[in-house]
């Protein structure tokens, strides 16, 4: 138990600290790297909660794809972040005001919030107890059976996304030099090497 508590505080502290660094680091590349650190620690928190599937997805999707994409964008685009931040303080009062109003509204809404007491019992696929089965297993059991329709349609959506990316970007350009492997390996020694007899002392 004590180890779990220590792990929780370690993960939580690092998450918060790196999140602060994301918005305060001067160098945008450092920001993205801190973001990755924050994701990893959040994944650790999920593991502590017993939600190992979300932890895996967080690492694979957010660290593996999204953060790397950010890194590419930050490195490839020449954006002067110092300049972007210049007018920041000027908008602070109005931004703070909007934030305060939103906060007050949220407090009012959540104060009078009622959850239907039996909503958990009505769930179409109730979450099994952690002691019975791990949640990756539980998801796998319904994803390809109860929800096979949704799964297949999601596949179609991805197919359309692929077609769309190809339609909108693929161009067949003229005059591109391509590698012709057949021509390369069918060259013989006689085609490509020529022996010249150079007289001594005269140069080529």
């Amino acid at each position: 138990m004590i180890i779990q508590t220590i792990a929780f505080y370690a993960f939580a502290a690092v998450t918060v600290a790196s999140a602060v660094m994301v918005i305060s680091a001067r160098n945008p590349v450092h920001s993205v790297l801190f973001l990755i650190l924050a994701f990893f620690n959040a994944a650790g928190l999920f593991v502590l909660m017993g939600a190992e599937f979300i932890a895996m997805i967080l690492v694979i999707v957010y660290v593996g794809a999204v953060a790397v994409l950010f890194l590419f964008v930050v490195m490839m685009l020449d954006i002067n972040f110092v300049e972007l931040r210049q007018g920041f303080l000027q908008y602070l009062p109005i931004g703070a005001l909007v934030g305060l109003v939103l906060l007050a509204e949220l407090v009012m809404i959540f104060g009078s919030w009622i959850v239907a007491p039996d909503s958990a019992d009505r769930a179409a696929s109730p979450t099994p107890l952690l002691t019975e089965t791990a949640n990756t297993n539980a998801l796998g059991q319904i994803l390809y059976t109860d929800y096979v329709y949704l799964f297949q349609v999601s596949g179609l959506i991805l197919l359309v996304a692929m077609i769309g990316a190809i339609v909108l970007t693929l161009r067949s350009r003229e005059g591109v030099k391509r590698q012709r492997i057949g021509a390369q390996i069918s060259r013989s020694r006689e085609d490509s090497v020529e022996i010249k007899h150079v007289e001594p002392g005269s140069g080529v």
Partner: protein, 484 residues
Amino acid sequence: MITSIDLFTILPELILAVLGMALLMYGVFRGDKAVHSVSWLAVGAILITAIAISGQSDSGQVAFKGQFIVDQFSVFMKWLILLGSALAILMSLNYNEREGIQRFEYPVLILFATLGMLLMVSANDLMSLYVGLELQSLSLYVIAAFRRDSTKSSEAGLKYFVLGALSSGMLLYGASMIYGFAGTTQFDKLATLFTGPNADPGVGVIVGLVFLLAGLAFKVSAVPFHMWTPDVYEGAPTPVTAFFAVAPKIAAIALLVRTMVGPFGELFDQWQQIIIFISIASMLLGALAAIWQTNIKRLMAYSSIGHIGFALVGLAAGSEEGIRGIGVYMAIYLAMNIGTFCCILSMRRQGVMVEGISDLAGLARNQPMMAAALAIFMFSMAGIPPLAGFFGKLYVFMAAVNEGLYVLAIIGVLTSVIGAFYYLRIIKIMYFDEPAEAFDRSAGREVGTIMAVSGLFTLLFFVFPTPIVGAASKAAAVLFSAAG
């Protein structure tokens, strides 16, 4: 597990998906030479799907653990959607060839968009609603930007994509609120949850419902979620605009009706006020903002916003009669819009498309047939009897009056009078202004035929309205027999 009942229920969609993928492979191997054959085969695929749909039973059949439903309502709406898609493919044949954007992906993407719309209409669960909607929207974003060398078309695609993603976000947020507070996403279970004497939906469900409505209102481009419509309509290639104006609108309206009347039927008092507001706002904006337009595609965008406002009057009534009105309205709207866009597609002068309203000047003297057709569509859109558009409005307004929504009906009539101004202005420009240079007569046989057929439909609807009105009232009846 998938049962044979599941497969049989979803058979038309399955056929369309498989044929779409087969056509994609055929196109990939044959290259852009095969555009013509892919397009005609796509129309064939839609035809086969339509036949499969008409072979289905009319009584509500639920499949995939209640995620998918087939009933008279979905069959009626699917017929309209398939008709709109097939016509959109045919209308694009000549245009794409002339504009040099002839690519086989176009009919394939329209097929996938159509598939998404069919899934939307048959959705019986918030999750299947979302996947259908997303399949449709993603295909539409791509074909909006289909002329990728034009800045306007790319802008249209990008704008549609960004705002569409925003609306999907709102819709998902609403759906997750509903799931969190009701504990289920399935329409039948949601409906039973809100019935009974001590049913309390709770504030969470209402907040979720409002977000869901905002997301769906974006898809039908109802005010105040209409901002994207004029720009996207103007920027997208004209046959794509024609497609946008009909099929996705019909699908989204059908989805809106099913979601509101089905699972949230008992919360009528909560959503009726929202529907009344967006209906009035759409009618007003459609009537007023269109007056200053000089581009005919933008004008059609505002006109479609107005039409959606009129159709929503039927939903605001919330009665079986109102839903029947929506069915009839959408069928007539399909014919009028397809016809008008055929006329717009014929506006080509010396090989270049023109889109200004002033370019129509004196059309009656140069091309009397086309001018007559366009005049029929404009009179019909303005709602002048005995053309079809009048009956569409009549059915929804009667439903509103019978439910005691007098103010809504009066505002509807007033805005359609204002709207008549700009429709009649087009007729005045065509018949009484000094003729401009004549258009090329080269829009293609398909466009001419579609224009003639839809013109005849609009003109002669009042002679035999029974097939459409009968089908629409059956479709409306099934929604209410299930809900109540």
